[in-house]
Each structure stands twice: as C-alpha cells, then as structure tokens.
Amino acid sequence: MNNKSELKGPTASRRGLILGTATAFALSAFSQIGFPSAAHADDVNTTGLAVTEDTVKVGILHSVTGTMAISETGSVQAEKLAIEQINAMGGVLGRQIEYTQEDGASDWPTFAEKAKKLLVNDKVAAVFGCWTSASRKAVLPVFEQYNGMLYYPTFYEGLEQSPNVIYTGQEATQQIIAGIDWVAKEKGAKSFYLLGSDYIWPRTSNKIARKHIEKLGLKVVGEEYYPLGHTQFNSVINKIKLKKPDVIYAIVVGGSNVAFYKQLKAAGIDMTKEKPVLLTISVTEDEIRGIGGENITGAYAAMKYFQSLDNPNNEAFVKAFKERWGDDIVIGDVTQAAYLGPWLWKAAVEKAGSFDIDKVRLASPGIELTTAPEGYVRVHENHHLWSKTRVGLAKPDGQYELVYETADLMEPDPFPEGYQ
C-alpha cells in the first residue's frame, strides 16, 4: 500500500504550506521504509493533541450496542483493519496509531457526548465514525466547536459541508444521477415509482431523483414513505401493480428491507424479468445477508463499491479483511468507505507534515488514493470524494455483479443547484 501525497493540489500554492508539504513527502518516504521519524512531537503537533514521540491517538466512534449496531459493525472492522495495516507499514509520520473506541449506543446525544470526550479528554488527532445522519448532525457542533476532524463513511443525503468533516461515502447526487441515467438509457425506463423509509435520507434522495427524472422528460408515477421498521408492504405493492412503472426506485432501510423484498417476490413481481426494474441505493451486500440472496436476485443497486469489484486493490483488501475478521464476512459500500478514512487521514497528515487539525484540513483537498479498493479517489474542495458510481446486479449468492460504471469520476455536489 502506498499513498501518493499530491503536490499539485489546490492548496499547494499556499506559500506557508510548501515547506510542510515537502517535509511530509520526505517523511512519508522515510516512514514507509521503516525509519523512525526525525520530527519532534512538538513540531508536528502545536495544538496539544495526544501525540508522543512514537504514538498518535485517534478515536473510533460507532454504535456497538442498540439498533444501529447491526449496520455499524462493518465500519468499525474496516477502520481497525486500516489502522493496523498503517501501523504495520510504519505508522503516520513515524508514529504508531493508537485508537480509543467509544460506543455511541445508537443514541444521538451519546454520540455528541462521546465525541466531546474524544476531543476534549482524549485529545485525539482524528475521529473515524458515525453512521446515521442523525448521529452526524448531533456531533457536528461538537467537532466545529472543539475543532476536531471527523471521517464519515456513509452515503448520505448531502446538504452539508463542514470544514471539520471529510465525507468518504457518496453524497446523494453522485449515487442517484448516474443510476437513473443508466436505467433510463440501458433499460429504456419511462416511469418511476419512488419508495422509501420515512426519514431524511430517503426523502432527500427521492427529491433529487424526482427532479432528475423530470429533467430527463420522464415521469414519476408514485412516491411513498413508510415508518422505519414497517413490515407490511402489500398495499404499496398493489399500488405498484396498478401504476405499472418501468422502475421501482426503492430506498427502504433496515428491517423493513427484508419484509419489502420478500413480499415483493411473494406478490409475483419477479425482479429477474425486469418488469419493472428494481433499482435501489440502500441495499449493500451487508443488507442482502438479512434479506436472503434468493429474495433480491435481479435487483440493481447504484453505489460506488461492490465486494465483487475486479481489481488488484480490491482483491488485496477483501483478502486482508477476511483474514482479519473471518471468512464468512461480507463487505458493503459503507465498509469500504470507512476503510478509506484512516488512509485519507494518513495521506493528509503526511502532506501537511503535521497532526494539527487546521493543517490537515488545508492539506486534505486534492489528496488522492490510488490504492483504494474502489479504485482511484480524490478529495474535493468540498471535503467529499470524487468517485465512480457503479451499478450492480444482485445474484442469488448475495453478491453484486458489476454491470456498469461511470467512465469518469462523479463530482460531489452536496448542494446541487436545481435539485432543491
């Protein structure tokens, strides 16, 4: 694994940073061949973070208990794996990473509390964590007040751009627009039925989807939301049958997913016949385990990563992940995005030549990873990642088969003009 610190990035022109950047480059070269860092702790850390001569402390903040623990486990595993790999390569600026893990317990004030504890008491140099939008919204003021750095892995609704957060998942437009373009072009879809769980991400995403569908001159024939955890979808399935859309655009999450796909299948909507096509942005390989591969075979998902991606980075990543966490594990989009967090941070620290939050922030735009399992990614000025969007076809074994990927990286656009 090798990270390239981009020297031609937009921030490199800032005079004050050139020296630091150069040092970082030199240091990272050293550290990768195992030399201890020459830089004194006071030089790379002027703001009192928990950095010693040979260690640096970071935080991991996810739900280990409560309803969200289901989803967040993969992210924790990915972040730990990345940290262990970085340590094995010599650490960051010659320092081994130590992590403090806190449990958000699926409870938003607890997230805010623990974030504050990590920043104020533990003085961590970065935090990898949060999963739901609600937890991110709860910790955001804490990170801005105490000037911390959060690496947030989930694909989410956008409408946010904080100087204290790096968003390693896709924001809504990246995921949605490419998917809808694809289904309109390849499947000749003319009409869409939008469906989601009732909270901010599905609602905002469907809003963007609706605007884009209408822009393409196509039609939305229905839009509906069910409470989180709802398990009876027969009525909406009847409505879908009545409206006969070409595409069911489903953003159902959590336990509802299982009920929805099982009932869809039982009601005679066979997704493999593609009448209608089912396109989702909420079902990763993780969710398929609960749904059962045979219940969702034939559905399409639009996201940036599938475990089955065929490239050397991903092969190495999947192999390492399984070695560390067990053979029967599956890796979804968010897990991969969580894995990017520590690597992006490492690259930014080495580019900045310092652990100081402000310097890391300045160094972050333009950071690129050529070793990401999903392929090449780059940090945009708006702190989101440039990344490709892919469409996968669900197979009975619970994996996606890649059927399409965008030719270029999709630009992240958290405040999309004309979509609000």
Partner: protein
C-alpha cells in the same frame, strides 16, 4: 410529620440541604465541566422521574408516555433557539433565508404558522407550561372521567408516544424529522455552547430542580396529596366519600406533564439539540425505571435514582457495552422483585431511624403514611 404550619419537616429540610450541597457544591468542585454537563443532562430526566413519583407512586397512574411531555418542552425550547439562530444573515445561502435550514431543504418557503409565535421567548416559556398541561388535560379528562384503570392508561399513553414519534419523523419539513432540531447556538444572543454558559445552565437547572422539589413537597403535604394516596389505595372509598376522584388524577397528571416539559426545555438548553429519540417508547419506559430505582414513593429518591442509573449507563456502556443491556434488564427485574421501594426504601429502613435519632425526634412519628406500594393497583 409536619409541625403543623410548615410543609417541610426536618427530614425534608435535611434531604433538600444534602441534595443542594451535592448539586451546587460537591459535584461542581469535584468534576470537570464535561462530566458536570452530563450530570446536568441527567438531572433534566430527574424532573420527569419526580413527576412519575407523583402520578405513579402517589396516584397509582403509570404513564408510559412521559417522553411526550419531555419532548413538548424540549421542542418548544428548540424551536425558539432554532429561530434565533436562523437569522436571514446566518442563513443567506438558503433559497429562502430566515427560516430553519431543514425547512429550506424540504422546499418550505415560508415559516409555518405554528412556528411564528416561537420567535418570542415569553411565548415559548408560557408554551412550555401550557402546552403539556393542555395535552395532559385532554388525555387525562378523556380517560379518568371514564374511570380507565392503570393498565389501560399505561398502554394508551405508550401508543400516544409511538404516534407522536412517527408524526415528528414523518413531518420532517416542519419538525426536522429524525435528525431533530440541531445546531442551536444562542439564547437571546448569549452563546450557550461555551463552558461558562454550561456552568450557568447547570446551576439554573439545579435551582429549578430544588424549586420543583419544594413545590412537590407542598403538594404532597396538602390535602390533595393525602387524597391522592387514598385514591391509589382504595379509589372507591374516596369516591364514596364524595370526592370527584377523576379531578385529582387529572391534576396530578397535568402537574407531572409540566414537570417533564421543564426537564425537556432544560435538556435542550444543555445538550444543544432535540430529537424524536427522546419522545418515543423506549426513553419513556427508561424514565419509569429511574423513578422505580429511586423508590417510587420518594421525590428525593427519584433524583438519586436518575443519577445512579444514568451514571451506571455511562460507565458500563463505556467499559462493557455488551453487558449493559443485561445489567439494565436485570435492574428492571430486581427493582420489582427484590426491592420494590428502591433506594428510598433502603434509606428508610437502614438510615432513616439513625437520622431521626440524630435529629432528636422519636422515630415513631416520622413514618409517612404511604408505605406499601404493593397496594398500588
């Protein structure tokens, strides 16, 4: 127990003094502002627990929907703070400046009518008292006048908590949805996120709590309080004595609702946001356990119970997240099976006689007339 004129006996005065010393002197002196802020947050739940002592312990009415009132208070305060931080200047990047950010994201172009009055702090403060009392009155009047019993009341209040949660989440354009109302900054220009503000809010919270305890003690020592206990133990006899039982129950339910709302408002101020996860069924039932651990008959016990459970929750979930739910579950069972009088029961049997001797009174006269919780229901 009272010395005739004054509603605070020596026991109560001593209890108040110890609690005040703990809240105002011991805790601030011994822990940092981060932990103190946490304690402040726990103490806001204590308002709810005290309300539950009144309506459950004393009145025999178990409400599983106190989160609803906590939420009403919290949301009122959050709406005011959100409007204050959503000035046209602060929100000029939005397509409609001057409205809360989440409304703008949901294509709402005008402040909804029910948000408008919350521009005024005076209205907000009044609403925090009036709204919960109003809703509690409607629920209470409908149910107690028809003599709906404890179990039914519990289930219906629980359903109301579920409904309100779904409603708040579903109407995200007006309520902020599942994320809640976040990023609250100032109160009348005063930055509530700073450490000094946190201290001030903590002490304000503590003072309110002491005030509420005194008010509750007044209610309990009045004729009303004694009637409540009588209603709990033998409702029919009170009715046959010519009292309208329903009115007492409605009053105490409204009173508890207002206390919860005060707690909710203080919660928003200290935590900096409000979300539907404090309204639903799970938090509502957890609030009952605070009260039960403290001893459902003691308003002081409720405060200590709240602090103890939350402290345990924070500590255990940090060190043994796996074990915490087992612990909490076992606590529910233990408090019912093994020590139904909770902390205050332990205090009363083990400590109180000694205290009484120390206060120089004969312990026989100090027995409050409300021992047996088994008689509830």
């Amino acid at each position: 127990m009272t010395n005739g004129k004054f509603f605070l006996g020596r026991q109560e005065l001593l209890g108040l003094a110890i609690l005040a010393a703990l809240i105002f002197i011991v805790l601030p002196a011994s822990i940092d502002i981060f932990r103190l802020n946490l304690i402040g947050k726990y103490l806001t739940y204590a308002f709810v627990a005290i309300g539950l002592v009144l309506c459950w312990g004393m009145g025999g009415i178990l409400s599983l929907g106190q989160g609803v009132f906590f939420g009403i208070g919290g949301y009122c305060m959050a709406m005011f703070l959100k409007l204050e931080s959503s000035t046209p200047e602060a929100t000029k990047i939005q397509s409609t400046p001057g409205i809360p950010d989440f409304m703008d994201w949901n294509q709402i172009t005008e402040l909804p009518w029910f948000w408008v009055p919350f521009n005024s702090l005076a209205f907000t403060l009044i609403a925090i008292f009036v709204l919960p009392a109003f809703f509690a009155f409607i629920i209470g009047a409908a149910m107690f006048k028809r003599r709906v019993g404890g179990v039914y009341f519990a289930i219906i209040t629980q359903a109301i908590a579920a409904i309100l949660t779904i409603l708040i989440i579903g109407q995200q354009g007006y309520t902020g949805g599942v994320n809640g109302i976040t990023d609250l900054r100032t109160l009348l220009g005063w930055d509530i996120r700073t450490d000094s503000a946190k201290y001030v809010l903590y002490f304000l919270n503590g003072a309110l709590l002491i005030g509420v305890l005194i008010a509750c003690q007044f209610v309990l020592k009045s004729k009303l309080g004694r009637l409540l206990v009588a209603v709990r133990d033998k409702e029919d006899r009170v009715r046959f004595s010519g009292y309208d039982v329903a009115n007492f129950k409605i009053f105490v339910f409204c009173f508890a609702a207002v206390l919860s709302a005060i707690g909710g408002a203080m919660f928003t101020l200290q935590v900096g946001f409000m979300s539907p996860s404090f309204v639903g069924i799970v938090p509502s039932i957890e609030m009952v356990i605070y009260c039960a651990v403290g001893g459902r008959l003691s308003i002081f016990g409720a405060v200590y119970g709240t602090l103890l459970v939350n402290w345990a929750k924070t500590t255990f979930s940090e060190t043994f997240p796996e074990l915490w739910l087992f612990g909490l579950g076992a606590l529910f069972i233990a408090v019912v099976l093994v020590f139904p009088n909770g902390l205050s029961g332990l205090y009363r049997t083990n400590v109180a006689p000694a205290v009484d001797r120390w206060l120089g009174r004969s312990s026989t006269s100090a027995k409050p007339p409300l021992e047996d919780p088994q008689a509830a229901e």
